[in-house]
Symmetry: C2
Subunit: 245 residues, 2 copies
DNA sequence: CGAGGCCTTGACCCAGCTCAAATAAGGTGG
DNA sequence: CCACCTTATTTGAGCTGGGTCAAGGCCTCG
């Protein structure tokens, strides 16, 4: 049973970006040491600035990475779902981790001792390159994020957020379900829940969206893209699709 | 003469982070292919989204990385000076470069064909790790930037910006010279030149700063830190010092 | 059915933006 | 060294997007 889980983990890791580059045998060896946990919404995986020697992969659910200011404010750095990793920062010897991680929708989290990866990087430069790519992608997410927060209005940011879930699925009508609480989306987009609510209202008026609970119907993905992506350097579909589990 | 320049370049590279890990012989080989250019303020090194196969190191002066939205706005992603690199993103096969680079204060720029580095990464995993570290640092800069833009007010952001040049040089009075145009600093901090000017005014009133042209005197670095760093997760001295050339 | 956790709304405020104009600061040719 | 441009920077006035505080509404789950 235990063995089965581990094989399964190895198989899953093989589909995750930095690990795809590893030979099956090596991957199994790593999966040996993997810890797989199912966590409920709300669980704090680790505090900001806590000592931490693990590398994490989200298998399902959603996790937020955040920082807390001395004044008590929180800034959400990123929100990750299946297939995304975090903790890579520690691979460069950064200690402690400069952010905290919290499960925001029931999640399955795989964690690995970081030194395993560090060793493998030293042994296998192809893997090192893969990790570098992963880090590069993270960085580009940040660059885009900075741009968005600089030049987009609140309704545009929300539009862009919704569009990430539409990429590659047609340009006409589309219905989707918000992946996590609106308040968290708001914070993720750098605005308050109130502003989120009102901005969504504007989107309803301007774009004819329908919102019922967490279910949103977009009458025209194309039109929403025209509205949102004007204030962005990359045109729709945005370079960075996010998938609903 | 030419040879001399190259030796010199190799020697300089040795002080730059990802290259410090390389053996002198390897470094000389790489420096062979380096191109060293002195560029005037205003020179565009490359456009956003231009094809580009180089890796750059700033030897002196200042360079800004920026993006342009379809609506014509510009977002400054980062501003770099001596010892900083850019173009690493391309090492992960990202093509074209998602930003542009412009010299904003007369600069000396070293550039290398990217494949040289890619080859060296494959050959030498210690170097790969060093590049990974460099990328990690870039990413952390971004994370911090997102936090700053989320939770700091304009005067606090300016304060934080000034403090980067004070790190490790005492906590009392300090005089420094702004490294580049105020309008650029403003944009770097995600605000308009007008707001920058006014916010600096507030800092004068609240902190007793003196500003004459580009020269700023801070009566108490400590007090400024107390004022600025409340709204930040890292306390003074901020993790990310920036040095005046 | 009731309690608590989301989410939305209303009223009001304010930091930062825009537009427009007045001043400084450099740099140039004479 | 001066007059003249050109490019920064500052200032003023007015506007507004988004924040804050506080009061409901609404859904979910025990």
């Amino acid at each position: 049973m235990q063995a089965e889980v581990k094989t399964d983990t190895a198989g899953y890791l093989h589909t995750v970006l930095p690990f795809a580059a590893l030979k099956t045998s090596v991957l199994s060896g790593i999966a040996e040491h993997a810890q797989v946990r199912t966590e409920k919404k709300g669980t704090l995986l680790f505090y900001p600035d806590a000592k931490n020697d693990k590398f994490y992969i989200v298998r399902s659910g959603w996790v937020k990475l955040f920082r807390e200011t001395m004044g008590g404010d929180e800034a959400i750095i990123d929100i990750l779902n299946a297939g995304h990793c975090f903790g890579e920062i520690g691979l460069s010897g950064v200690e402690p981790m400069p952010y905290g991680a919290q499960v925001i929708e029931d999640a399955c989290i795989i964690s690995l001792p970081r030194f395993l990866l560090a060793d493998e990087i030293m042994r296998n430069s192809v893997f090192g390159l893969a990790v570098l790519q992963s880090m590069t992608r993270q960085r580009m997410r940040r660059d885009l994020e900075i741009e968005h927060r600089t030049v987009q209005t609140a309704p545009q940011r929300i539009g862009c957020f919704l569009l990430k879930f539409c990429a590659g699925r047609g340009e006409g009508e589309m219905t989707l379900h918000l992946p996590y609480e609106k308040a968290v989306i708001a914070s993720r987009l750098g605005m308050t829940p109130e502003t989120f609510s009102r901005a969504l209202g504007q989107l309803k008026a301007a774009q004819g969206l329908t919102v019922r609970g967490g279910t949103v119907t977009i009458p025209s993905v194309r039109a929403l893209a025209d509205f949102s992506c004007i204030a962005c350097s990359s045109s729709f579909p945005c370079k960075e699709p996010e998938t609903l589990a």
